[in-house]
Symmetry: none
Subunit: 225 residues, 4 copies
């Protein structure tokens, strides 16, 4: 009990400091926000520091330079998002429902992680230069394909999916419909209004996304709902 009190006092006095991992995470969170908001060149190290509970100097202490901070921010963004995906349990569902569930989940998941989407957009603007170097990110993503392949295999075996589905291509479709919804919202709504981005509009888009992706994999005899 006294020990616990001492620790708490220690924390009260010096706060979160002397906890390297906490400082790292604090910086990374600020970096993701700043990079997502302004891009790689547009981000200012000073602004990242200002969003932090520590100083600019610490950014260099922990990450070396802006580019490496960006690399870690990108990896962190991927790790956060993919770890959320892993919680989705689909094995107990019939393949058709599993796929529908996965598409809907992906659509929602992208929608609720706009900063991640923006990091990926920025990576694409920079020709995936940074992502290419990260084995960690590659590993995370390959797992996503594996899960999809497993669903396809079950569906084909059950005769509800047509044979010969390419899981990577299927992933591409799901990603396209989910990613574009977030990435291109600014231009799309500037050009065509906000209609599609109301709660109602999003539900309709989501439902149709599920519907057309499923239509793409169903065996001929199986009617659409």
């Amino acid at each position: 009990m006294p020990v616990r009190t001492e620790i708490q006092e220690g924390d009260r006095r010096s706060g979160w400091k002397q906890d390297p991992e906490a400082v790292r995470q604090d910086i990374l969170a600020a970096a993701i926000a700043e990079f997502a908001a302004n891009g790689l060149s547009g981000a200012r190290v000073d602004d990242i520091a200002a969003k932090t509970r520590t100083s600019k100097r610490m950014i260099y202490y922990y990450f070396g330079d802006k580019q490496r901070l960006y690399e870690h921010a990108l990896e962190d963004a991927y790790a956060q998002v993919r770890s959320g995906e892993e919680e989705l349990e689909l094995d107990h569902l019939p393949p058709e429902e599993a796929l529908a569930c996965l598409v809907g989940f992906t659509f929602d998941h992208h929608r609720s992680h706009p900063d991640f989407i923006r990091m990926v957009m920025i990576e694409n603007v920079h020709h995936a230069q940074t992502l290419e170097k990260s084995d960690m990110i590659r590993d995370l993503n390959v797992a996503a394909i594996d899960r999809l392949a497993e669903i396809c295999a079950r569906g084909e075996a059950a005769g509800v999916f047509r044979p010969g589905i390419n899981p990577t291509r299927l992933h591409w479709q799901i990603s396209a419909l989910s990613f574009f919804n977030v990435s291109n919202r600014p231009t799309f709504s500037a050009l065509f209004g906000n209609e599609l981005f109301t709660e109602q509009g999003q539900e309709a888009l989501r439902a149709e996304a599920v519907r057309i992706v499923l239509a793409g994999v169903m065996a001929d005899g199986e009617g659409q709902r």
Copy 2:
């Protein structure tokens, strides 16, 4: 002979210079290339000037500052691309084929204008701040929806399309599948390999894009192909 004379006069002494419109276009082309390659903050006025047959000073002379140059570059990029789209003639086709043709064309058109796609990506990174101010761009795009609405109307009237299709949502789907294919190619191929971006892979993606978009609009009785 007269033609030759004109060319010679144009080239004489100062060449393409002294032709303000040519200088503008020269600068704009360089600007689009540079902005598309590096983003708004990443683009360097010096580098744009270097890609030009004129000097940095002229950029300021013609466009005032970097932001306004970007605005013109964005408008120019849209104008170039949309003008290409207008040449597509679909009125004589049955609605189903018209839509299939439109989807395929859009897919191809995006693919062959990567710099335009990148400009739009960059606009999205910047929250469409610049695009919002351009009435010209809005007008260009609304026309695209009108054409789609017309096809839908024909399809519904003929009973081949289900009733109540929302043309904006349809446009969103077509755009998503076509845009993502170009915008996210760097990250996608870094993660999952180049398979989908070979000529063969692209044809498969294109065919499936057409297929699922059509599946989304067909009336229930109408079988998929």
Copy 3:
């Protein structure tokens, strides 16, 4: 006359500006002084700028970065010094006197260009990394050897110099005695007092330098003075 007046007025108003070559030289002079005083890493671009009639920004405009400024400063230091050497006319003197004259001149010349000596010291501290890249400097110096070789050839032909003198080795001896006198004056006088660096002391060192270098080349029969 009016024209001349206009020019003068132009100069009076805007001073030395708009004369790129003058600005370059102004910067180079300041750079040599600063690098000679503080070394490559010790030199401060801000301090160089302060010694200048222009601004720090111009240093980057003209020279790109600190390293390249240093390169140009080094080349300039060599060029200045070697051009002074070229004025020495030795062809009309008998070889023995020509050599004596050259040694004495080199001794004096080094003594009166301490900043140059310091630049060379600094280059040596940095393993001649910069000098190695400069063809200009190499060319300047090879000429010095040629002149010495010519004197040796004359002396050998006349029988006053022993045969088989290596001009490069001779140059090394002359350089050593002349260079060390300037380069190591601080430590030498800190350890052994200022005696050798008074005017009288220097004259004695100079005389002996001439004497021993000559002793090194004389044919056996030829007595020392």
Copy 4:
């Protein structure tokens, strides 16, 4: 057995640690290497620490700051080198041979202690500011002159050396030829090639250095060898 035990005890558990003097020497050796390689401003405390078996923090713990570390490194460099010189025994040789031996030895000694030479170069770049404050170094060096004076006295008494030789000036000559050989090797070989710095070239330089220094002190009647 006892020896082995001692070593084991020294190494036991924390190895060389807990032995302040060993830590000091470890740091000093790293500092000399780093200062010699990069100069005073060019040396990085971090890099010195990296060359050490201890941490950067210990450098401050033992030496206070960079400047004082440099002072100790300089003193250490002098002490190491001069202690080597003391082993030379010349009293039993005739003065001519003693001097020849001393010149040759100095030439070789400088050659085999390039880091020391570089420390002295660096001191000179910094106007001997640090050396001036060190009585220890002054004492070490004055001894060298004394020894030379003794040889001269013997030579003059024997009539083989001319009278009135200034030992400090003689030391200056010997030092010049020995020091320059190491200090200016980088620039000299960059300009004139490596010829003089091969084993053969060095032997020739050494022999001539001995020869001309002796020529400078011999009485007129005494022939050169």
